[in-house]
C-alpha cells in the first residue's frame, strides 16, 4: 500500500464542513439534579461535513473537543459521527476541535492532526438581531477542509462521492442561521465583485488625481 501513500502533486481536494455550536437557555424543566445551579445554557459543539451522506470515517479516526479546563475531562474524544459534545455552562470560551486522521503508513492517509478553534457562543451576535423566542443561538461556521497534494489513498476516499454538492435551498426556512447553501456563495461572490469594483473605481480615481498632481508638480518646477 506504499503506492497509495504517494502524494498527487498540484492537486487539492476540498470537503466542505460545518463547525460551531448551538446553545439554548436552560429552562427549569431541563435541569437535572447534576446540573450546577449557576449554569445558564445548554450547548452542543459539533463538527460535521455539510452533506449528511458524506462519510469521513475512513479518514477521521476521532475528533476531540478541548473544553475549558474547569470542565470534568476537558478533552472529550468522539470516535464516531456525529462528532459533537453537549454540555451545560454559563460562559463563553474557545473550544479546540481537533481532528485526528487515521495514522499508520500502511493506510496511506499520512495527514497530521488538525485543529479548528471555535469560540463558543451562548448569546446572540447582535442584540438588535431578532432573537428567537426560545433564546436559541446558533453559531455555525462554514469552512472547507482542503487536502493539498492528497495521497492517492485520500484521493480515493474523497472521490467516492461528490462532497461539494451544496443545496440550493434551505431544508427549513427557520434554519437560515444554521445552514449554508449554494446561493450564499453566489451572493458572496456578487458582493465581493461589488467591492472589487468599488476599489478599482477608487484606484482609477486616485490615479487620475495622481496624474493631475504630477502635472501640477511639473508646472511648478518649470
Amino acid at each position: 500500500m506504499s503506492s497509495s501513500a504517494k502524494r498527487i502533486k498540484f492537486i487539492s481536494i476540498s470537503v466542505p464542513v460545518l463547525y460551531g455550536n448551538d446553545a439554548i437557555r436552560l429552562t427549569p424543566e431541563k435541569r437535572k439534579a447534576t446540573t450546577p445551579t449557576d449554569h445558564t445554557h445548554e450547548w452542543t459543539v459539533f463538527f460535521r461535513p455539510v452533506l449528511n451522506n458524506i462519510d469521513l470515517t475512513p479518514l477521521i479516526k476521532k475528533v476531540t473537543f478541548k473544553l475549558h479546563e474547569t470542565y470534568e475531562n476537558p478533552v472529550r474524544s468522539i470516535e464516531k459521527p456525529p462528532y459533537q459534545v453537549t454540555e451545560t455552562g454559563w460562559g463563553e470560551f474557545e473550544i479546540i476541535i481537533k481532528i485526528h486522521f487515521h495514522s499508520g503508513a500502511e493506510l496511506g492517509i499520512n495527514e497530521k492532526n488538525f485543529q479548528i478553534f471555535h469560540g463558543l457562543r451562548l448569546h446572540p451576535f447582535n442584540p438588535q438581531h431578532p432573537t428567537k423566542e426560545s433564546g436559541e443561538v446558533h453559531s455555525v461556521l462554514y469552512d472547507e477542509l482542503v487536502f493539498q497534494e492528497p495521497t492517492e489513498r485520500v484521493f480515493e476516499i474523497l472521490t467516492r462521492k461528490p462532497s461539494n454538492l451544496l443545496p440550493y435551498k434551505l431544508s427549513n426556512p427557520d434554519k437560515r442561521d444554521q445552514e449554508y447553501i449554494r446561493t450564499d456563495e453566489i451572493d458572496e461572490l456578487a458582493r465581493l465583485d461589488v467591492y472589487i469594483n468599488k476599489v478599482s473605481e477608487e484606484i482609477e480615481n486616485q490615479r487620475n488625481q495622481y496624474k493631475d498632481l504630477e502635472q501640477e508638480k511639473l508646472a511648478l518646477l518649470q
Binding site: 498540484f10 481536494i13 479548528i116 462532497s163 456563495e185 461572490l189 472589487i196 468599488k198 476599489v199 498632481l213
Partner: protein, 592 residues
C-alpha cells in the same frame, strides 16, 4: 597432555567446585572400568576429553574385531599366468602373470572355460580393407571423373546464372534506350519512319544479343579453365568474394593426387586409431600437407568405391558415407570459428537482438490474443428465424434467454481458454488487460479533458511506466478519469488543479489558506481594513475579515479584493508623497 593442560594453555578457567563431581561421574560412567584402561594413542586421545563426557560411547570393538579376524584363515591368492590374446592367433604368443584370489587348483579349472577378463574391451572397428594398387588406380580415375563432372555441372549452372543476369541487364538498358528514343520521336513530326527504324532495331538486337552472349560465355569458359589449372588465377578472380567463399573455392581446386602408398598409410592410421580423426590428423606425417577434411574425403570416397564393388554391400552405409561434402564441412568450421571469435561487444549485441526479437514476438502474440477477444465480442448471434416470433413479449423473453446463454457460453469458452493457457504451463505471459485510460480507444472517445484530467492521466501513465505492477483495477485516479467529469462536476468533488503553483502538502482550512494577497505586513493589512471601511465595505470591525462562506471561489475573489486594495494603498502613498512635494515646492516658492 591432558585436557586440563590445554585449558591452561588457552587460559580457560574452569569452575573448580564442579570439576570433582564431574570427574567422579565420568569415572563411574566409564564402561571399561579402571581395570580395562586404554593404552597407547587411545588413552592419549581419551585424556584430551578432559572432564567432558565422551560424545559417543568409545568402543573397544576395534581392537576386539581385529583380534577376532586374526583368528580367521588368510584367503589364498595365486599368481596366474595368462595370455592376453587367447583367440587372436596373429599376435605373438606372450604370456603374462597376475594375482588372482583363490587357490591354484580352483583357478586352473575355471580358466579353461573363461576367456580373458579384459578381452571384451579389445574391440576392433570394421574398416574395409584397401584394395590392391591396380584397382585403386581405377577407383581414383572413376572418382576424378565423377568429381570433374560435378564441378562442371556446377560451373555450368553458375554460368547460366551469370548469363541470365547479363541478359536482364541488357534488356533493361534496351528498354531505357527505347524510352528515350520514343521521347525523341515524339518531338519529331514524321512518326512513321521512326517506327520503321524501331522495327529494324528490334529485329537486329536479338541477334546481336545472342552474339554477345556467345562471346561472353566463351570468355567465361576460358576463365574457368585457367582457374582450373592454377590456384593463383582462381584466387585473383575471387578476390572480391567473401573470405569464407574464397577459402572454399581454394579448397575446391584439385589438391595433390593421393598415391597408393599415402592412401595405404591413411588406412593404417584409421585402423590404428579407430577413425578418431583428430588423432589421425595429428599422427599423419607424410610429405604432402593434408587437412582433416582432405583425409576424411579420401578415406570416405575410397571406402565408397570399395563397398560398391563388394557383392554384399550396405546401400545405407554407402549413402551415409557419400553424404560427406568437403566444402560444406569447411564452411561449417568457418562458421564455428567465426562464432568463437566474436568479441564480447558482438555477443552482447546479439543477445540484445535476440531479446528484442523475443519481445516483438510477444507483442505480436499479445495483439493476436487481443484481436481474438475483440472478435469474440463482435461475434453476434445470427438470425435464422423470423422476426415475427420475437414480437410478442414471450418471444422476446425467449430471445433474451437465448442471448444470455450464448453470452455465458462465450464467457465460459474464454475462461477455459485462459485456464488452458495457465494449466498447460504455457510460459507465455497472458497479456495484462490494457488500462482504459492508456488504451487508444479511450483517447479516441475523449472529446474533451479538463486540465485536471489531462494532468491526472499523464500522471497515471507515468506511474504505470515506472511500475507496471501497480494494481490497476482499484486505482482511484483511473476511476475518476473514467467518469469523464466536466469542470462543474469536478467542483462538486472539490477537486482543483493548481497548475504549477506550489502547495504545502497537508490539510488546511479554506479560511486560513495562504493567499498571496495576505502575505503582507500586519500594518499593511490594518490599513487595508481601514480602506475597506472607508469604502463602506463591511469588515465586521476586525482586522481578520474573511468571507462568511470561504469556498475556493470566494477566497480567490477575496484575494483579488485584498490585492487591489493594496495596490490602491500604494497609489495613495505615491499621491500623498507627490502632494507633500508640491506643498514643499509651493512653500519654497512662497518664501522666495
Amino acid at each position: 597432555m591432558s585436557a586440563n593442560d590445554i585449558l591452561d594453555v588457552l587460559n580457560v578457567q574452569r569452575d573448580e567446585s564442579k570439576q570433582p563431581v564431574k570427574k567422579k561421574q565420568k569415572t563411574s560412567n566409564d564402561p571399561y572400568g579402571s581395570g580395562q584402561r586404554q593404552s597407547g594413542m587411545a588413552r592419549e586421545l581419551y585424556n584430551l576429553l578432559g572432564p567432558n563426557t565422551p560424545p559417543v560411547n568409545l568402543p573397544l570393538a576395534g581392537t576386539a574385531a581385529s583380534k577376532a579376524s586374526l583368528k580367521l584363515k588368510a584367503s589364498p591368492w595365486t599368481k596366474m599366468p595368462f595370455k592376453p590374446n587367447k583367440h587372436n592367433t596373429d599376435s605373438k604368443d606372450v604370456t603374462f602373470s597376475h594375482w588372482v584370489k583363490g587357490s591354484r587348483e580352483l583357478l586352473e579349472q575355471e580358466e579353461a572355460k573363461k576367456p580373458y577378463f579384459f578381452e571384451k574391451y579389445n574391440v576392433k572397428i570394421d574398416i574395409p580393407e584397401l584394395v590392391d594398387e591396380e584397382t585403386y588406380e581405377k577407383f581414383m580415375e572413376e572418382i576424378k571423373e565423377r568429381e570433374k563432372r560435378i564441378r562442371e555441372e556446377r560451373r555450368q549452372r553458375e554460368k547460366e546464372k551469370r548469363e541470365q543476369e547479363a541478359r536482364d541487364r541488357e534488356r533493361r538498358e534496351k528498354e531505357q534506350k527505347e524510352q528515350k528514343e520514343a521521347a525523341n520521336i515524339g518531338d519529331k513530326s514524321d512518326s512513321k519512319s521512326s517506327e520503321d527504324e524501331m522495327k529494324v532495331k528490334s529485329e537486329d538486337s536479338p541477334i546481336k544479343d545472342k552474339k554477345e552472349d556467345k562471346e561472353k560465355a566463351e570468355s567465361i569458359h576460358a576463365n574457368d579453365k585457367e582457374s582450373y589449372n592454377t590456384i593463383s588465377v582462381d584466387d585473383s578472380s575471387s578476390k572480391d568474394a567473401k573470405d569464407s567463399q574464397e577459402s572454399i573455392e581454394a579448397a575446391e581446386v584439385e589438391p595433390e593426387d593421393w598415391s597408393y602408398e599415402e592412401t595405404q598409410y591413411l588406412f593404417e592410421l584409421c585402423g590404428d586409431f579407430e577413425l578418431k580423426w583428430p588423432v589421425i590428423y595429428d599422427r599423419f606425417s607424410y610429405p604432402t600437407h593434408r587437412s582433416v577434411e582432405d583425409l576424411k574425403e579420401q578415406f570416405y570416397r575410397i571406402c565408397i568405391k570399395i563397398l560398391e564393388n563388394q557383392s554384399t554391400s550396405n546401400p545405407a552405409l554407402i549413402e551415409s558415407l557419400s553424404a560427406y561434402s568437403k566444402p560444406r564441412e569447411l564452411e561449417r568450421k568457418q562458421y564455428l570459428e567465426n562464432l568463437l571469435r566474436r568479441t564480447p561487444a558482438e555477443i552482447a549485441e546479439e543477445e540484445s537482438l535476440v531479446i528484442e526479437a523475443r519481445r516483438f514476438e510477444l507483442a505480436a502474440k499479445k495483439m493476436l490474443i487481443e484481436r481474438s477477444h475483440l472478435l469474440t465480442l463482435l461475434d453476434s448471434p445470427q438470425t435464422t428465424q423470423q422476426v415475427q416470433q420475437f414480437q410478442s413479449s414471450q418471444g422476446l423473453t425467449n430471445l433474451y434467454n437465448n442471448l444470455m446463454i450464448i453470452d455465458k457460453n462465450q464467457k465460459k469458452r474464454q475462461l477455459q481458454q485462459q485456464q488452458k493457457q495457465v494449466t498447460t504451463g504455457n510460459q507465455e505471459p497472458v497479456p495484462p488487460p490494457i488500462p482504459i485510460a492508456a488504451s487508444s480507444s479511450f483517447k479516441k472517445d475523449r472529446s474533451f479533458q479538463t486540465h485536471l484530467q489531462q494532468y491526472l492521466s499523464g500522471l497515471l501513465k507515468q506511474s504505470q511506466n515506472l511500475n507496471p505492477n501497480v494494481k490497476r483495477e482499484s486505482n482511484a485516479i483511473q476511476q475518476l478519469l473514467m467518469k469523464r467529469l466536466t469542470q462543474k462536476e469536478e467542483e462538486a468533488y472539490g477537486l482543483f488543479f493548481h497548475g504549477t503553483e506550489k502547495l504545502n502538502p497537508g490539510v488546511i482550512l479554506r479560511s486560513t489558506q495562504k493567499l498571496p494577497g495576505l502575505q503582507q505586513k500586519q500594518s499593511v493589512l490594518k490599513s487595508v481594513n481601514a480602506v475597506l471601511q472607508e469604502l463602506d465595505i463591511p469588515t465586521a470591525g476586525g482586522t481578520s475579515w474573511k468571507p462568511v462562506m470561504p469556498t475556493r471561489k470566494t477566497m480567490t475573489k477575496y484575494d483579488e479584493l485584498i490585492r487591489s486594495v493594496v495596490a490602491l494603498l500604494e497609489l495613495k502613498k505615491g499621491k500623498d508623497k507627490l502632494e507633500a512635494e508640491i506643498r514643499l515646492i509651493k512653500s519654497q516658492r512662497g518664501l522666495q
